[in-house]
């Protein structure tokens, strides 16, 4: 496979060396880790773009850390959404001596990588890993700027039972740390709210044929199908669901709330529900400006780039307050973050989870996602 990320890294390192010789400027190196190849590459690129947009803006604003002129340098790495690759990439970034890491995108990759960052004492902020386990391992270096699955599963179950009046629910997940974790949380909360889970089916994050499991679900007559997983599966799944003549409500979570989902599901996407952690972007102070900046620079926002943007800003802000880009020096300031980001106010609890995490629900109306008030 052509290795574009490697090329970018090499270019970045070369550029960095040149600058090092040039003067007394402080170079802050931030690792950005996401799947840049494979079925989730559109989301990975989106995350990486968010980090790069933040870095460009910070660099343009004459960054000063501890009285010294500083510059952010982004090192992009590809974890292929694969837990094993994620640990290799994490070790590589540690060896290269990065000051902090924004990543990984997936829960399944963020969790194994967090051990390596924790051992090296390097702060890691995941823009999009929502699995509860990520911050509950007791690592001081693991943070996230996104609502976790406990909060999201609860909100989704509330929505399914109270707003959609679902009595019997079918649940499908893709057996990843994220999909399975979220589906389990959702199922638990839905049961507690009085709904009946009539089917529990599984697929994988590489599957394209869902007709067999959907047919099996059809026989159990649910009012709602919930999918815990990413858009590359939920899009075709939605299409096959409608082709089987099933007119049940379809509810996804943050992994499904993307333009890609609508593209893959085609006309069948109409009426599908999904959630995202946080507030609707265009309602946030500075959100509209972010959308315009991002669109001008990289095109359409897929999913999490606002979060990776905020994560980068939060990290650099802590460095500024600490007057140092040294991980051990700015880490205490990172835990005490109070920042008004484009996705909402950001501060961390003692586990590294975002405080007051909110969840917004969306529905596909006339071919695009609309927030449900």
């Amino acid at each position: 496979m052509p290795n574009r990320p490697l090329f970018i890294v090499v270019a970045a390192i070369l550029a960095g060396c040149a600058k090092h010789e040039a003067g007394s400027e402080l170079v802050v190196r931030i690792g950005s880790v996401a799947p840049l190849t494979g079925p989730q590459s559109h989301l990975g690129k989106d995350n990486d773009n968010g980090v790069r947009l933040a870095a460009e803006e910070i660099n343009a604003s004459n960054l000063v850390i501890g009285g010294k002129k500083a510059r952010i340098e982004v090192l992009s790495e590809d974890d292929q959404a694969d837990p094993r690759t994620a640990t290799v990439v994490a070790q590589k970034l540690v060896d290269e001596g990065v000051n902090g890491v924004i990543g990984d995108l997936n829960s399944g990759t963020s969790i194994p990588a967090s051990k390596i960052y924790s051992d090296a004492g390097i702060p890691q902020i995941s823009p999009s890993a929502t699995a509860i386990a990520f911050t509950s391992q007791g690592f001081k270096t693991a943070f996230r700027v996104i609502t976790n699955d406990r909060q999201q599963g609860e909100a989704l179950a509330q929505f399914a039972t109270a707003k959609l009046h679902a009595k019997s629910i079918a649940i499908i997940d893709d057996r990843t740390a994220y999909g399975q974790g979220l589906a389990d949380e959702f199922g638990k909360d839905a049961k507690a709210l009085g709904a009946n889970v009539v089917a529990r089916e599984y697929t994988s994050d590489h599957a394209t044929d869902f007709t067999a499991i959907l047919t099996s679900i059809k026989g159990k007559h649910p009012d709602l199908v919930f999918y815990g997983g990413m858009d590359a599966q939920s899009g075709p799944m939605m299409r096959q669901l409608r082709n089987l003549g099933m007119n049940v409500a379809f509810l996804g979570a943050d992994g499904s709330k993307s333009p890609e989902f609508i593209r893959l599901a085609g006309r069948s996407a109409e009426g599908a529900y999904a959630s995202t952690p946080g507030m609707p972007l265009d309602k946030m102070p500075g959100g509209q400006a972010f959308i315009e900046k991002y669109n001008a620079r990289y095109g359409k926002i897929q999913l999490y780039s606002p979060y990776s943007y905020d994560a980068t800003r939060v990290m650099v802000e802590a460095m500024k307050k600490a007057g140092s880009a040294e991980p051990s020096k700015y880490l205490p300031y990172l835990s005490k973050t109070e920042w008004q980001g484009v996705t909402g106010p950001i501060s961390f609890d003692d586990k590294g989870d975002i405080r007051r995490g909110t969840v917004t629900l969306y529905q596909v109306v006339n071919g695009s996602w609309k927030a449900i008030p």
Binding site: Y202, I213, S216, Q240, E260
Partner: protein, 307 residues
């Protein structure tokens, strides 16, 4: 009952696609004793070309089935050319080499085709425009869409034609002669090289049709979609008895039905211990069972080693 029927329909549709791809494996194996591992990727090329044409024409106002047909008209020659080139470049120079050598080049060609496709069409999942009107008609409570019935009928027609071609025509005679003994066939005036090229071209045309069906049915295409599909179809060919045309059809249909039933009922039957996550395991479980119990496949004959 209607759910059982629906699973059966799903299985037969999936099985028809497997059978069509399995025919490509079995044709080549029957004639050359070679497993063409790049065959799955030829299916992918067929899917990609059809999809590209369909996307270009999706706003042209032409009726959907006509657009798909035009896509197929582009995909079949592309795949035929690919099949011919694969044979000419990767297999013919190795015809007298040990049997392991062409197997390795087959895998090499497969990787090459995947990477080429990734460079041309990108690494995202591509969606097939929804242009075929999806009427579903009810059959004892199971719903069958137009696309599904076209897949089953189309595959059936292809298989009958192929069977006729191999058994009743002059080209078929030449193919069977080459299969039995290439040297003697040459002595009898059979152009062995031409026959082998034609076999590859024929198999690739079937692959193009299968590719069109897969992408139109699932509504999606991806550069590495051929790998798993190829592996499953190869399993189907072995299940039925590789080298045997009826065997490939039987194997494909059986595998499709086993997979669909397995994914649909295993969870209920085992009380949730094993679930639909074992869907892909069935194909390979069946392969192992067949290889252990009946190495020559269901319809394969027990034959001695080729001299």
């Amino acid at each position: 009952m209607e759910i059982f029927l629906q699973q059966l329909v799903n299985g037969v549709v999936l099985g028809s696609i497997y059978a069509l791809v399995a025919l490509g494996y079995t044709l080549v194996y029957g004639i050359m004793g070679l497993i063409n591992f790049a065959h799955g990727d030829v299916v992918m090329i067929g899917a990609m070309v059809t999809l590209t044409v369909a996307r270009l024409l999706s706003n042209s106002g032409l009726p959907g089935p006509l657009i798909v047909l035009l896509g197929l008209l582009a995909a079949v020659p592309t795949c035929m050319a690919t099949g011919y080139l694969i044979e000419r470049i990767a297999y013919r120079p190795l015809r007298n080499a040990p049997r392991l050598a062409p197997l390795i080049t087959a895998i090499g060609v497969s990787i090459l085709l995947q990477n080429l496709a990734m460079m041309i069409w990108g690494r995202e999942y591509l969606s097939f425009p929804q242009i075929i009107p999806s009427h579903a008609f009810s059959f004892f409570g199971a719903s069958i869409s137009t696309t599904q019935s076209i897949i089953v009928i189309g595959s059936g027609v292809m298989m009958v034609c192929l069977s006729f071609l191999v058994k009743k025509t002059k080209l078929g005679n030449a193919m069977r002669a080459t299969s039995q003994n290439p040297e003697v066939a040459t002595l009898m005036g059979v152009e062995v090289n031409t026959v082998i090229s034609l076999t590859f071209i024929l198999g690739s045309a079937l692959a193009a049709i299968a590719g069109m069906m897969v992408s139109a049915y699932y509504g999606i295409a991806h550069y590495d979609m051929g790998f798993m599909l190829g592996l499953k179809a190869f399993t189907a060919a072995v299940l039925g008895g590789i080298g045997n045309i009826e065997g490939a059809v039987l194997g494909g249909l059986l595998l499709g039905i086993i997979e669909s039933m397995g994914a649909g009922y295993l969870g209920t039957l085992t009380g949730g211990v094993m679930g639909s996550n074992y869907q892909d395991v069935f194909a390979f479980f069946v392969l192992i069972l067949v290889l252990v119990l009946r190495p020559s496949g269901l319809l394969g004959e027990r034959v001695g080693e080729r001299p």
